[in-house]
């Protein structure tokens, strides 16, 4: 169970908000991904194929696997390390009609204790001499939460997403974008295995655990602005900002800067810096004063007050032509991202000490993406 009330909804952005109404290239990608940090290792493949027909229709399919080996701080303090596998399959279709593009998509994600199904539609329209692109979309998700060791346990989660995007060409070198998305969830939104801790003088450690209890609804709004600027010597500078707020009391800010530099005819290099910070949910506490201290109880570190930083490096190499005549061009890419997470009110219980005075938790994570792309 790795879902943290996280929808597949965003997986359906086959025609992401804020793009011109142009069908994607015929292309196949084979990607290997690996995440390693905080005692968790997740790796696996992702395969994506897109194909156009008659310059008016396009279909896509994605097969994605997560192989998880988890000994995260949550797991080592209240459960046993585990391994599991999640498989996600998604398909999409686009229709281009003049300056309007319609996209429909469906995705299914399955693991031993969680199933998610999502369907979505997006419409994208070029306007004002194609300097402006306006898009909007809607997705609906139906999830089922199960629990290992309890065959009777089954809880639904319904999700909805509404989104609007706008991109605008301002000058021959500057493009800006705006995106807004509202996501609404209803159902069992907490992890059925996770616990909160509370002060308990009867316990040898001074504290004890009880299961989390979350509100059964959550609505969030996210507003993002971005800009991309073409530098005269053929390079690109990008900036992104996102503000997020939800009905659980989480407010978050995200800022990102990126630089893309080609080198010769065969290389493209990228460097990215990203900062993220959020406040905690209203019902979050690292240590509650007593059992059943309040109606809603949460100790998910992703709902605590924390900040993270990421530095990313990427390189794409255009491969020389080789025997496969059906491929017009091929590239090999490697992206490495280094994360640092620092929690302000989530403590490292494994360090021991007086309850509530343990050192604050933090960890580094390494993310690797290695992929081959072929255009046909």
């Amino acid at each position: 169970m790795r879902f943290r009330a996280l929808p597949l909804l965003m997986a359906l952005a086959v025609a992401p908000a804020g793009r011109a109404a142009v069908l994607p290239d015929d292309r196949a990608d084979v990607l290997y991904h690996r995440y390693d940090g905080g005692g968790v290792t997740i790796d696996g493949p992702s395969l994506l194929v897109r194909k156009k027909f008659a310059e008016k229709y396009s279909v896509s399919a994605n097969y994605y696997v997560d192989m998880v080996s988890s000994a995260s701080i949550d797991v080592v303090t209240t459960a046993s390390p585990y391994k599991e596998r999640r498989t996600q399959t998604s398909v999409g279709a686009d229709v281009l009609n003049g300056r309007t593009q319609y996209t429909v998509a469906f995705a299914n994600s399955d693991e031993n204790d969680y199933t998610a199904n999502t369907a979505g539609i997006d419409v994208s329209q070029d306007l004002f001499g194609d300097l402006t692109n306006l898009s909007f979309g809607y997705s609906r998700g139906w999830d089922e939460v199960r629990k290992r060791g309890d065959a009777e346990f089954s809880e639904p989660v319904d999700r909805s997403s509404y989104r609007i995007g706008l991109t605008q060409i301002l000058t021959p070198a500057l493009m800006v974008g705006f995106n807004w998305e509202l996501v609404s969830d209803e159902g069992l939104l907490n992890n059925p295995y996770r616990s909160v801790r509370y002060l308990d003088s009867d316990s040898a450690t001074g504290f004890a655990y009880q299961p989390e209890v979350y509100p059964r609804t959550r609505t969030s709004n996210a507003l993002a602005l971005n800009a991309r600027y073409f530098l005269p010597y053929r390079a690109a500078l990008s900036g992104d900002y996102r503000y997020f707020t939800d009905t659980w009391g989480v407010d978050a800010n995200t800022a990102q800067l990126g630089y893309t530099q080609p080198w010769g005819k065969q290389w493209i290099f990228e460097v990215t810096y990203r900062w993220y910070g959020q406040s905690s949910a209203d019902f979050y506490s690292d240590l509650f004063p007593r059992r059943d201290a309040q109606n809603f109880l949460g100790r998910d570190k992703e709902l605590s007050t924390f900040s993270s930083q990421m530095i990313g490096l990427g390189a794409t190499y255009e491969l020389p032509p080789f025997g496969a005549a059906f491929l017009k061009r091929t590239t090999l890419s490697l992206f490495y991202d280094r994360f640092r997470f620092d929690y302000d009110d989530f403590r490292d219980v494994t360090a021991g000490g007086t309850p509530g005075e343990e050192p604050l938790y933090g960890f580094d994570a390494d993310v690797l993406r290695l992929f081959f792309s072929g255009w046909f």
């Binding site: 001499g129 300097l131 995106n179 992703e302 992929f371």
Partner: protein
């Protein structure tokens, strides 16, 4: 989708469609920079989707990833 919201979105799109005769101030022949791969924020959708998936799994925030493509759901 709520009917009111759907009607508002449709009306907005229809209203803007009627303005497509606005004279573009960046001419088509001045837009070659935007066709350059370095200007595509989602140049590699399969890779962008994966990184957004990592963000969604590790952070409380979600949504409005826009041209960054999509995430998918796990941590």
């Amino acid at each position: 989708m709520e009917p009111k919201r759907a009607v508002a979105m449709a009306a907005l799109l229809a209203a803007l469609s009627g303005c497509s005769s606005v004279e573009p101030w960046v001419k088509p022949y001045e837009r070659q920079n935007f066709a350059d791969p370095v200007m595509a924020g989602d140049r590699d959708p399969v890779a962008v989707a994966y990184l957004n998936h990592v963000f969604e799994a590790r952070e409380g925030a979600r949504g409005a990833l826009g041209s960054h493509g999509g995430g998918c759901g796990c941590n």
